[in-house]
């Protein structure tokens, strides 16, 4: 979760500043804890769980955050840089797993933890609105962007959509 928050903050800064070095700084933030944890893994009591946490905990949220990056309208070179940075992180993880001679149990744990952490990232991204969400009220769809202000037309549409939901509910209740 800490990684997700750090990543998200770096992501927000990147969006604000919009300079390429931020991508590297961003992935450096992922790499640093990986290296630190790799040292700690050698002395950990349950190596399977520990290495699984390191590998799974990095791969899941990183993949999800990269997916968020790529869904935005970034220029092609940003997507390439993100892709290369991601490859570096994964290559490092594979080297780490090879050095520590991990077995099938670790990979199973990694996949499980990656799944858990990715789901957590999705929930966190939704709750803290780290990505632009779409909301459907009645038959209308709106974009949820906390940085953008509503204009008069949008406000009218939101109110109309809530009225539509209210009327539909009234009809449902009277039919039942």
């Amino acid at each position: 979760m800490i990684l997700v928050v750090i990543e998200a903050e770096a992501y927000k800064s990147f969006r604000r500043i919009n300079v390429p070095p931020m991508i590297w700084a961003d992935f450096e933030l992922v790499r640093m804890p990986v290296n630190l944890l790799a040292d700690a893994a050698e002395v950990a009591a349950n190596q399977n769980v520990f290495i699984g946490l390191v590998i799974g905990g990095t791969i899941g949220p990183t993949l999800y955050l990269v997916a968020i990056y790529l869904r935005h309208d970034s220029p092609w070179w940003v997507k390439w840089l993100v892709g290369i940075s991601l490859l570096c992180v994964f290559a490092e993880l594979f080297v780490l797993s090879w050095q520590l001679d991990v077995g099938l149990a670790v990979w199973a744990t990694s996949v499980g933890i990656a799944a858990l952490f990715t789901s957590l990232s999705v929930l966190a991204a939704k709750l803290f609105q780290l990505r632009v969400l779409r909301i459907r009220i009645g038959s209308k769809k709106f974009t949820v962007d906390r940085r953008a202000d509503f204009n008069d037309q949008q406000l009218r549409e939101i109110v109309a959509a809530t009225e539509e939901v209210r009327n539909a509910r009234k009809t449902d209740t009277s039919n039942n």
């Binding site: 399977n48 769980v49 929930l123 939704k126 909301i135 109110v159 809530t162 939901v165 209210r166």
Partner: protein
């Protein structure tokens, strides 16, 4: 012939995430339990792993719904605040037409009613 895939619905995505979270937590738990010394406790803890998977998946679905409601509620709150700000501005602006002010007040009333009736629970987040 190219295969056209139907995109997953919001419910489908939520179920997938809940399954992934439950499965992940189950694997994690089983791995931790594998370190417990052999005996009855370990036996029961191993049996508990799949139950935990199902329980966490269920709880995950509840958490997702709660977060969806929270985000939808915040969206309506923001709309309400925007209307309130416009009303304040319109009241202090003598050039503003009374029809516009009336429309804004009517909108505010409807949004407040929607909040009271918890209509945000019927909004779908994608």
């Amino acid at each position: 012939m190219p295969v056209r895939r139907t995109p997953l619905t919001t419910e489908g995505k939520n179920a997938l995430q809940a399954g992934a979270a439950g499965g992940g937590a189950g694997v994690f738990f089983a791995n931790i339990v594998s370190d417990v010394p052999e005996g009855a406790v370990k036996h029961y803890l191993i049996i508990l792993a799949p139950i935990l998977t199902v329980v966490i998946s269920g709880l995950w679905l509840v958490a997702q719904k709660t977060i969806d409601w929270e985000v939808s509620k915040r969206f309506l709150d923001r709309a309400k605040k925007a209307i309130q700000e416009r009303i304040q501005k319109a009241e202090n602006d003598p050039s503003c037409s009374p029809e516009y002010l009336k429309e804004l007040k009517d909108m505010l009333l409807k949004v407040e009613k929607a909040e009271l009736e918890k209509l945000y629970k019927f909004a779908q987040l994608e």
